[in-house]
């Protein structure tokens, strides 16, 4: 009996305020979206409140808005934070809901001021965009928490000691809770990832040039890709080369280095940092540096070869046969340190007693590695190989910086970029993107299925 009573008290005090906080969370998220994506006046999306505020802050002449509009981003971000805080810490829920309520009142006051004094000092002359109305409605929603929050507060201070439970808004069913938390990120994911993906699928069936109205051309973009386009074949072959090198060379080198540096050695930390340091460089810097190294006349590589007495110095990037391997080598240089760090972390997680047991059992070094260490590193190896595959499929930066796809170094990502932004064949570039997406999905799907299987096992 006592337990049930406790439960009821908790529900009385906490859960109905959590409902208020959920409303606050939704309203604040919506407020944020309205602030960034919806037109504050007129119908043009570029005229959103965020742009107007940015114009105002950077002193663009002719901006017709006052600083008071800054209440919108502040209220939306603070609202989300407060609502989450309130939900996660139910004992603070009431305070959070009250503060959200105050934010709502402020936003509502701002909206009403804009509405009632359109030519006054408070704001610009023209209102009436979807963003404004959404903001107004959201502000009303935030204020509507009053219906939940204030009675709860009154109850707490004893003004309204025992009101019947049916007077309250129904509490949020617990099974909805995760979905409500998921809603804001899912919305963003929908806008930025899912929608563009499907837009690309559609685009790949058109001949859009970036300017005219897209015309539907069926599968002819794909037909051209797979039948006559030599550059596409070249790019595909180069991606396969990249992939073949990436899942073998940096992987084994990284593993080897990790095994070496896993033992205590003098200056080990220094060497580890040395191998890892290329990773902090951007691809643009790596591309520039390696292009200098490859310079046949002044570069370090040919200078070294020359001083060793090599007579016929290679032209590196200038040599059509060598160029793609030169670019891949630069990428490998970066990747080795990355793989090494992953394996080092994996080695640290191996239970030393297993290794000791193997040694006691008389395993030699090779068998220790082959039969104990390597199987224990299997999860890391999976991650490393998947990362290598994905990195090699999205290879772009180095090619763009070092050759811009010339010298038969074209890869799919750069080819897509050139078709889209140099040749303005958006539809054709979309078809390349779809092919790249398809290839990537094979590997990503494999990886995800393994992950999911692992999770189900636990």
């Amino acid at each position: 009996m006592a337990a049930i009573t406790d439960y009821r008290i908790r529900e009385d005090t906490a859960s109905d305020v959590s409902g208020a906080n959920f409303i606050g969370l939704l309203c604040s998220a919506l407020l944020f979206i309205a602030f960034i994506f919806m037109p504050w006046h007129g119908t043009k999306i570029v005229d959103n409140a965020a742009k107007l505020l940015a114009d105002l802050l950077s002193g663009v002449p002719g901006t017709q808005i006052t600083l008071a509009v800054a209440i919108l981003p502040i209220a939306s971000i603070a609202g989300v934070a407060l609502a989450l805080w309130g939900v996660l810490q139910p004992e603070r829920g009431r305070l959070a809901a009250l503060l959200t309520l105050i934010l709502g009142v402020l936003v509502l006051a701002y909206c009403l001021a804009v509405l009632l004094f359109p030519t006054g000092s408070l704001d610009m002359a023209a209102v009436g965009g979807a963003g404004f109305w959404t903001t107004l409605v959201v502000a009303l929603g935030m204020v509507a928490q009053y219906a939940i929050t204030v009675p709860a507060l009154r109850r707490q201070v004893g003004l309204e000691a025992a009101r019947p439970a049916r007077r309250r808004l129904p509490a949020i069913p617990p099974k909805w809770v995760p979905y409500m938390f998921l809603l804001p990120p899912l919305l963003l994911y929908l806008v930025w990832i899912i929608a563009p993906t499907f837009a690309t699928f559609w685009l790949s069936l058109t001949n859009w040039d970036g300017v005219s109205t897209p015309g539907y051309v069926g599968l002819s973009n794909f037909e051209r890709l797979f039948s006559i386009d030599r550059t596409f074949r070249e790019a595909l072959v180069n991606n396969v080369r990249w992939l073949a090198i990436f899942i073998t060379v940096p992987t084994t080198m990284g593993l080897g280095l990790a095994l070496i540096f896993n033992t205590e050695m003098k200056g080990g930390r220094f060497y580890k940092v040395s191998f890892y340091s290329p990773l902090v460089l951007s691809f643009a810097v790596i591309g520039l540096v390696w292009a200098w190294l490859y310079n046949p006349r002044l570069g370090l590589i040919n200078a070294l070869l020359g001083s060793l007495g090599v007579a016929d110095l290679p032209g590196w990037l200038g040599d059509r046969e060598l160029a793609i391997w030169c670019v891949i080598a630069a990428a490998v240089w970066r990747q080795v340190g990355y793989v090494m760090i992953l394996y080092l972390a994996g080695l640290k997680n191996i239970d030393p007693s297993l290794v000791e047991a193997a040694i006691v059992d008389g395993a030699d070094r090779w068998n220790l590695f082959r039969r104990v260490v390597l199987p224990l590193l299997a999860p890391v190896t999976t991650v490393v190989i998947v990362i290598s595959i994905i990195d090699s499929l999205r290879a772009f930066d180095l090619v763009a910086i070092m050759t811009r796809g010339g010298q038969s170094t074209q890869v799919l990502a750069n080819f897509m970029y050139m078709e889209a932004f140099n040749n303005y064949r958006m539809g054709y570039a979309g078809a390349i993107a779809v092919v790249l997406f398809g290839i990537s999905m094979v590997f990503i799907g494999f990886y995800l299925s393994r992950i999911v299987k692992d999770e189900l096992e636990y």
Binding site: H41, G42, K44, V46, V60, P61, G62, Q64, L115, P118, T119, A125, A126, V127, G128, W133, L136, V137, L140, A144, A147, R167, L169, N207, D209, G210, V211, S212, G215, I228, R230, T231, A291, Y294, N295, P296, R297, L298, G315, W316, L317, G318, D319, R320, A323, T403, R404, G406, Q407, M418, E419, F421, N422, N423, Y424, R425
Partner: protein, 422 residues
């Protein structure tokens, strides 16, 4: 329940109030938007200075200026022009790159500059022609630079060449003489391919004349034409005479200056901007000559890429934009650009008497040409230029593959023609 319905009443009331609330019209534009690609420090400072001058003189109609790096600007241009509202005034290039947008109806007619602002009298006729499509003006050319064969007189002297080559035979002869003296005749940095396109432009204009060249650029002539093949035969003669440095594709255009500076290579077919990257203390030993004449029966064409401005058809502030363009194309601004940046004026009333000798010579070079082309990748469509430049480099690696390459280029040309028609 009642609380909910009360809330509903309030909400409905608020919505009703807001719907009948007057929506005030926005006044006319009070500023001009101007997007430019002058991201490099010196042109950027000049650009900002010009805008500052305008804003000081026109506080009632100031310019909102945004500067984007050159390459990014080129990628963003389509988004700019199709946006609504689009930026009012934009920097851009003459030739096919402007033509494309004009054909799509994205560029505003600025003929008023020629009729009402006196540009018809003050602009050189060749540049007015460059601005004109049909009988209307759309593009405001404001500056250009020349291309020529740059060379080091001291190296020519060292090899015993007394006079710059003016004919093809003299040119090949100079290559042989330089090779005999242990100097590579010509340097080129073709890692990003476009410097190779200059060779195609000049060889085609010298062999077949500028009219054929520009028709090829406009996709009206076939790449499998015998005349195009003849261009590659001339090009191959240069390979046979070992005129070029080894592995040209290993260097970008600036890196390829180095053999010249080191005294190991004598010539470089390059634009006037080579001076920006050439060591200042060695510029005394840097001169240029007109690309040698191959067929004396065809008119002389030169590459002189021209930069300027246009206004988007979607512009919010057409009148303000036009006035700002009149200022950008004015004698005052062109005189300043000439004196401070060495940009060659497109107006005939700019005083060039104070210019250094090489600039006078460059202006002479262009003014005595029968035809001025833009450059391969500005005269033809972007995909055609991309395919063409790739083919030039493949030809460089394997001159025997020319027939296959030209067939591929022809296929690309037909695809471009089809896209333009569709």
């Amino acid at each position: 329940m009642s609380r909910l319905s009360r809330f509903g009443v309030v909400l409905t009331f608020a919505l009703l109030v807001s719907m009948v609330a007057p929506v005030f019209a926005q006044g006319g534009p009070t500023y001009i938007t101007y997007n430019s690609y002058n991201g490099d420090p010196i042109p950027r400072a000049f650009d900002e200075k010009i805008v500052g001058m305008w804003n000081e003189a026109h506080p009632e109609m100031p310019v909102e200026h945004s500067i984007v790096a050159h390459e990014d600007f080129k990628q963003a241009i389509r988004a700019y022009l199709t946006a609504d509202p689009a930026p009012d005034v934009l920097t851009w290039f003459a030739g096919n790159r402007a033509q494309f947008f004009i054909d799509k109806g994205l560029i505003a007619d600025i003929s008023a500059l020629w009729t009402d602002y006196g540009f018809a009298e003050s602009y050189a006729p060749g540049f007015t022609a460059l601005a004109t499509v049909g009988d209307k003006q759309y593009f405001l050319p404001t500056s250009y630079y020349w291309w020529a064969v740059y060379y080091r007189p001291s190296l020519f002297e060292q090899a015993g060449i007394t006079k710059v080559p003016e004919t093809w035979e003299e040119f090949l002869g100079a290559c042989d003489t330089l090779n005999a003296a242990g100097i590579t005749p010509i340097t080129i940095g073709a890692r990003f391919r476009w410097p190779a396109a200059a060779w195609f432009d000049y060889l085609n204009m010298r062999v077949n004349g500028p009219e054929f060249h520009i028709n090829l650029m406009l996709l009206k002539e076939s790449y499998t034409d015998e005349r195009v093949k003849a261009v590659f035969e001339k090009w191959n003669e240069l390979f046979e005479h070992n005129c070029f440095i080894e592995d040209p594709a290993a260097y970008d255009w600036q890196e390829a200056i180095d053999p010249m500076v080191q005294g190991q290579a004598a010539m470089y077919l390059m634009g006037q901007f080579i001076k920006d990257s050439y060591p200042d203390d060695m510029e005394d030993d840097l001169d240029f000559f007109r690309f040698p004449i191959i067929n004396p029966d065809v008119p002389v064409g030169e590459d002189a890429p021209t930069d300027g401005f246009f206004m988007s058809a979607n512009a919010r502030n057409l009148q303000g934009g036009l006035e700002f363009m009149a200022f950008l194309g004015s004698q005052e601004v062109q005189q300043m650009a000439f004196e401070e940046l060495g940009r060659l004026p497109t107006r005939i009333d700019v005083d060039i008497s104070g210019a250094p000798a090489d600039v006078q010579k460059g202006i002479q070079l262009i003014q005595t040409a029968d035809y001025v082309a833009q450059f391969y990748d500005r005269d033809t469509t972007p995909p055609m230029a991309e395919a063409g430049m790739d083919a030039f480099m493949r030809f460089w690696d394997d001159p025997s593959s020319v027939d296959q390459l030209l067939e591929e280029l022809e296929a690309e040309r037909l695809r471009n023609v089809e896209e333009a028609g569709g």
